[in-house]
Symmetry: C2
Subunit: 331 residues, 2 copies
Amino acid sequence: MSEQLNLLVAHSPKRQAVFRITPDEVDAAIGRSKIPLPKLQIDFCAMNDPAFGGLMDRAYGMIGWQFPRDLVTATEGPLRLIQLTGAGVEHLLPLEWLPRQVALATASGIHAAKIEEWAQMALLMLHTHIPHFATAQRHHQWSKILTPGIAGKRVLIFGTGGIGAAVAKAAKRLGLATAGVRRNPAPVRGFDRVLGLDGIGETVAEADFVVLAMPLTPATKGIMSAEMFARMRKGAGFANVGRGGLVDQDALIAALRSGHLGNAVIDVTTPEPPPADSPLWDTPRLLITPHVSCDDPETYVPSALDIFLDNIGRRLKGQKIRNRVNPRHAY
Amino acid sequence: MSEQLNLLVAHSPKRQAVFRITPDEVDAAIGRSKIPLPKLQIDFCAMNDPAFGGLMDRAYGMIGWQFPRDLVTATEGPLRLIQLTGAGVEHLLPLEWLPRQVALATASGIHAAKIEEWAQMALLMLHTHIPHFATAQRHHQWSKILTPGIAGKRVLIFGTGGIGAAVAKAAKRLGLATAGVRRNPAPVRGFDRVLGLDGIGETVAEADFVVLAMPLTPATKGIMSAEMFARMRKGAGFANVGRGGLVDQDALIAALRSGHLGNAVIDVTTPEPPPADSPLWDTPRLLITPHVSCDDPETYVPSALDIFLDNIGRRLKGQKIRNRVNPRHAY
């Protein structure tokens, strides 16, 4: 641990400035870190910069959202850890490009506080018919629907990871009954019940609200199908804070247009943003928010850097990596 | 207390069915009541029914929202209490028609649980720019604004009564700093500070959110003037759960159009509903909900009846009436 360790911050030129990691933020993260680390040399480079390959070939760890995967595959350098700054890996799938010696980790968990607040709001908005009121307003209509308190209603959450658990926490705070869906059904804190992907038909039919908070993988793509929407109870609410690709968007639009689905709030679409002529924009009782449910601009980068440095320390000591992606499950 | 006591339920034919008091609901309220009451004879009558005057002239207490005020003024019967089913009295102002022997009471307080949930949602919606997103959606635009957590933001609440206190409770739950405005500034639970109507200039200028939750009286009419909106900080949020008449609506529209005001959620307008050609409907970053913030259809009538019977018992024993309206302050 006495040698110098090279780390690389990979910038994605197209990503919003708020996600850009600055030298000051890295210094602050090193200052916060309580893990013994060797002398660090931090390089910053845009992924499309010709210098990228050379810097990557000397790096032990790299943090970023996107990078030239072929260079990673080809590297013969000391690279042992790639830390993503977000919770999802679907933009990197399939993971065949990932060398065996390189651990890939997400920043899962850094969204919990923000998504919890957002979920609380979204559940209350669905319950009180805010998307309906927004649609009525577009038509200059005063269309009153009174609702009792939300306590006692039932929410079914697809996904019981960091984001799903935060949704469940918000729901519990509002007095809701919570059911969760995950690959391997097993008890998860905050969920009254956890079910596997098979056998959720009845639970979908009972839920007042269905919230998607699971990763997008080949197994979950289009999971909210026309059939699934049809199984939901009439007038129920739907929210998506996961990924747009989890939903058959045509089926979502049809379910709202027919009146079967009561209200929907979606923070993700496919593609993102929707094209200007997408029918999503004018779908009744659908409120679209532009992928803002999870990212806290004040804590996003610092939290991701904390996980990165923690994982560097773990990797050096041969310990278990936090949020390591299992290439077989793709999350 | 051994005689029979006549009570009258006054129906307003134009009011929504959800507010209509049924004989079953009265029986249930009598069953819940722990106050010793004489034998009761309950009459139900629409306020425009020719029989109304005769029934009112034998009633000791009356519950309703509207009634023929001239008949009340003229009565020589035993009437001693009029219980309103809502929190406001502005539809009965000025109170010159009210005989001195008749106590007038509101149902203030029955809205607390519902408005607390609504306020929590509205504060989060203002904070996360939901009205902005709804406006962007109308224009088929994906206009991203990321926000950190809401904790630490500052809300100024006009009104510290039942509804204002519920808003403060919701704000405290979200970690906000709360300031309140009331006629006689004095400490109120849930408010970090309470100010009089004069001297709020600085506090308005500091607030991230301003929420109106006060009664409409001659003193509060139009309190949110162009000058008041101008004093608010640029980009701040505004909500109104009080009455439409508290706001200079043209000033509200101008403040949103100019971009000075960030987002607004209003549950009340004047008139209500707004006419189809009202500019309110298309005002950017304004979300209109149709007067739904306060009324819980499952608890509204039962809670108002509980207060009515409690007040009947108090009146019979010469005790202080709950929620009695002071005709001089008009709330």
